[in-house]
């Protein structure tokens, strides 16, 4: 690689006065100045009206849309149903279980967020997810709550995280399979990945709701949500495989050779040398895959699983809240935006970080 990339001196930005900055960034030329003025007026007008509608003139509480009289947004439709928005129709006396389940999900993602934990901590992920599902469902210890009552933002988080956490190991296997020298394993991995990536998620969700029951033995009735979870997991494993493949490709060949030279076997080389580096490098890509998956959970309402979009649509079809589509959809979009935007910032900062760490590790040119 060229020296320039490694030894580039940090460029010192000259300190600009406000006026100099404006000259450079706003009024560089006549055309630039005209553009600036036009854009400033249109953008300012839009932002002002959005703020005016969403915050300044908004009504926040009430029992029906009659309570909203100020002419701004009628957020009462959300606040009046906040319980459904958060947890669907989960019984009121058992909401502490939702909080507990979310806590366990937080434990499940801990090994991903905090990256310098020992390797065994990866086991926290599946354990946390299974514990969360058990707490929500009851698992014969707590009173049983059927999945029909689960819903709201809780369900988006649950499906997104469960899908991602179980998809990751499958994705790692597929990524190795795709790079394998064994022709049948390679063909199977490529076939699986490309078929899953080639079809829309919605067709797979239809599969889960109408075709999957046909393939189960007579008398076995797998829950609708569990079927969807299985399909979502398979779906994201194909994308995880591609995210991990990128990481595998960027582990220098010398690492593998050095491990062999030390006398490590194939499994040890893979598990102790290649995989840890590959995962570390591909974490930003994995997070990006998760962002996509999390956005996709809004599709579940199409197969009648009441995640947050479904709950809101139900609220909007209620007679006392008719005609508040703007409020409902803006709210859902905002919820997803806050989550996805912060995750994408985090993933971008990770990318910068790994980029810096990876530099000295490269072989000299």
């Amino acid at each position: 690689m060229s020296d320039a990339a490694v030894t580039r001196a940090p460029r010192l930005a000259p300190r600009l006065t406000a006026w100099q900055w404006a000259r450079q960034n706003l009024f560089g030329s006549v055309a630039d100045s005209i553009l600036t003025v036009v854009v400033a007026i249109v953008f300012g007008w839009l932002v002002w009206h959005a703020l005016d509608w969403a915050v300044i003139r908004a009504d926040w509480f009430g029992e029906s849309k009659e309570a909203c009289k100020s002419g701004g947004a009628c957020w009462a439709v959300i606040t009046a149903r906040w319980r459904q928005v958060v947890a669907g129709y989960y019984p009121e006396g058992h909401l502490y279980r939702v909080a507990l389940a979310m806590l366990f999900l937080a434990v499940a993602v801990f090994p991903v967020v905090k990256r310098d934990l020992p390797a065994w901590s990866a086991l926290l992920a599946p354990v946390g997810v299974i514990a969360a599902i058990a707490i929500l469902g009851g698992a014969n210890i707590l009173p049983s709550v059927p999945t029909d009552y689960w819903g709201g933002i809780m369900l988006n988080v649950l499906v997104g995280l469960t899908g991602a956490i179980f998809a990751l190991p499958i994705g790692i296997l597929l990524a190795f399979g795709r790079r394998s020298d064994l022709p049948i394993i390679k063909a199977f991995s490529i076939g699986f990945i490309e078929i899953i990536r080639g079809v829309p998620l919605i067709t797979l969700l239809f599969m889960s709701s109408v075709v999957l029951p046909l393939f189960l033995p007579a008398g076995v009735n797998l829950d609708k949500l569990m079927r969807a979870l299985a399909v979502v997991t398979l779906f994201s494993s194909a994308y995880m495989a591609e995210a991990v493949r990128g990481g595998l490709q960027s582990v220098p060949k010398g690492q593998r050779e050095a491990a062999h030279a030390l006398g490590l076997g194939l499994l040890q080389t893979t598990g102790l040398v290649v995989l840890p580096q590959a995962i570390r490098i591909s974490i930003p890509a994995i997070v990006n895959t998760f962002i996509g998956l999390f956005k996709d959970t809004s599709l579940l309402y199409v197969i009648a699983i009441l995640e947050v979009t479904g709950v809101i649509r139900q609220a909007l079809s209620d007679f006392s809240w008719l005609g508040l589509e703007n409020e409902g959809y803006v709210f859902v979009a905002f919820v997803f935006w806050v989550a996805c935007f912060s995750m994408s910032r985090w993933s971008a900062s990770l990318e910068k970080q790994t980029g810096k760490e990876a530099k000295p590790a490269r072989e000299p040119a």
Partner: protein, 387 residues
């Protein structure tokens, strides 16, 4: 991969065992699944096989690009749905590219406000779910005025909450001849100019590659004049309580189109930005130093290098857009998934058959895009400079 013996190619005894186990496991799984499916299908009295494709569908489809009647077959339904998918996907691809290009260039512009607006758009559009965006745009499309107080002008276009009425090209008489003749001329021009360019770059001789296009232009002109210009414009007119003539774009199609364009446009913007910043600054400076104009610098130096970075992810965005058009089902646009994996599936009950056909359609789309990408990568690899 070497030319070793069978055992060697299979990775020795261990490799053979592993792969044998994989195949065995897959076969067992397949036998178990199909056994279950057979029993379940029999128990529920669902018919099997693809014979239903020849049966009468019996339902109407709100938008059909080829003639369709409820008395037509399910095979015809598939065609109508696939064409509707292709229609909204192609419309989306064009506008998403335009939006993405503009926003991508704005992201690296010198103007701070330009950057701010583009960044705001990109961060909002790609961090909110597409289904929600589609619902928002659909809601906006339904907020347009009713036909009686439609926005627009007679003989041009109308905006209403029952759809948008636009001028439409009509074809008659020898239109097929004219259109296919033009396509043939353009394809020929493509190959001729590629050949001429190769002659020039490899041997430094031959006519300018532009001659190919000049000939194509004359050919297209002749094709239309020779067939008596069979193409005209049909404009919408007010008639009673509605409109006649022109092309009617339903609110669902419009919402889906706009949402797909803005959503995919935000991803394309990031790709364009990445491509533009990937071209080293020195390249542009060097090009200007040897006397190329701004336009030439962009066209001959920056873009060819940026395109190598831009095109592969761009193609996968086009594919994503096509797959995402299946979200049509949530607002009732009759795309392939809605009419075939929806209505047809419900009527026939043959879930496996209908869904497999729909999936095959999308797989065929991805396969053709991958083939194109392989071809493109092979082409552009010629330009790759060793680092």
């Amino acid at each position: 991969m070497g030319r070793g013996g069978f055992m060697e190619r299979m990775g020795g005894a261990r490799g053979l065992l592993a792969q044998g186990l994989l195949i065995f496991g897959l076969v067992v799984l397949a036998v178990w699944l199909s056994g279950n499916a057979g029993a379940n299908i029999e128990a529920r009295g669902i018919s099997t096989g693809y014979g239903f494709l020849d049966r009468e569908a019996g339902f109407d489809i709100a938008q059909n690009l080829v003639p369709y009647e409820p008395t037509d077959t399910y095979a015809r339904v598939f065609l109508v749905g696939a064409l509707n998918t292709i229609l909204v996907a192609s419309m989306g691809i064009v506008t998403a590219t335009v939006i993405g290009l503009i926003a991508g260039v704005m992201r690296v512009s010198r103007n701070y406000l330009g950057r701010l607006v583009a960044t705001t758009y990109v961060e909002i559009a790609r961090n909110t779910p597409l289904p929600v965006q589609i619902l928002v745009w659909y809601n906006i499309a339904l907020l347009l005025p009713p036909p009686r107080s439609a926005l627009g002008a007679d003989g041009v276009a109308f905006l209403t909450n029952r759809g948008v009425y636009l001028p439409q090209l009509w074809l008659n008489g020898l239109a097929d001849v004219a259109v296919w003749g033009s396509v043939a001329f353009i394809l020929a021009a493509f190959f001729v100019s590629a050949r001429l360019r190769r002659l020039r770059t490899e041997h430094g001789k031959g006519a300018s590659p532009h001659w190919g296009w000049a000939v194509a232009g004359v050919g297209v002109l002749l094709a239309f004049l020779g067939t008596g210009n069979p193409i005209g414009i049909d404009v919408p007119h007010r008639e009673g309580f509605g409109f006649s003539g022109g092309f009617t774009m339903s609110p669902a199609l419009m919402a889906l189109w706009i949402a797909l364009s803005f959503y995919t446009g935000s991803f394309i913007a990031e790709i364009v930005r990445g491509g533009l910043t990937a071209v080293a600054k020195g390249q542009g400076e060097a090009a200007r130093a040897i006397g190329l104009s701004e336009g030439q610098t962009l066209r001959l130096v920056i873009l060819p290098q940026a395109m190598r970075v831009i095109v592969p992810p761009l193609a996968s965005q086009y594919l994503n857009l096509t797959k995402n058009s299946s979200l049509a089902v949530i607002i009732g646009y009759p795309d392939l998934v809605a009419v075939f994996a929806g209505t047809s599936l419900n009527q026939t009950g043959q879930a496996i058959e209908t869904l497999s056909l729909v999936m095959l359609f999308y797989l065929a789309c991805s396969l053709s895009v991958s083939l194109f990408m392989n071809w493109y990568n092979a082409q552009s690899a010629v330009w790759a400079t060793p680092r």
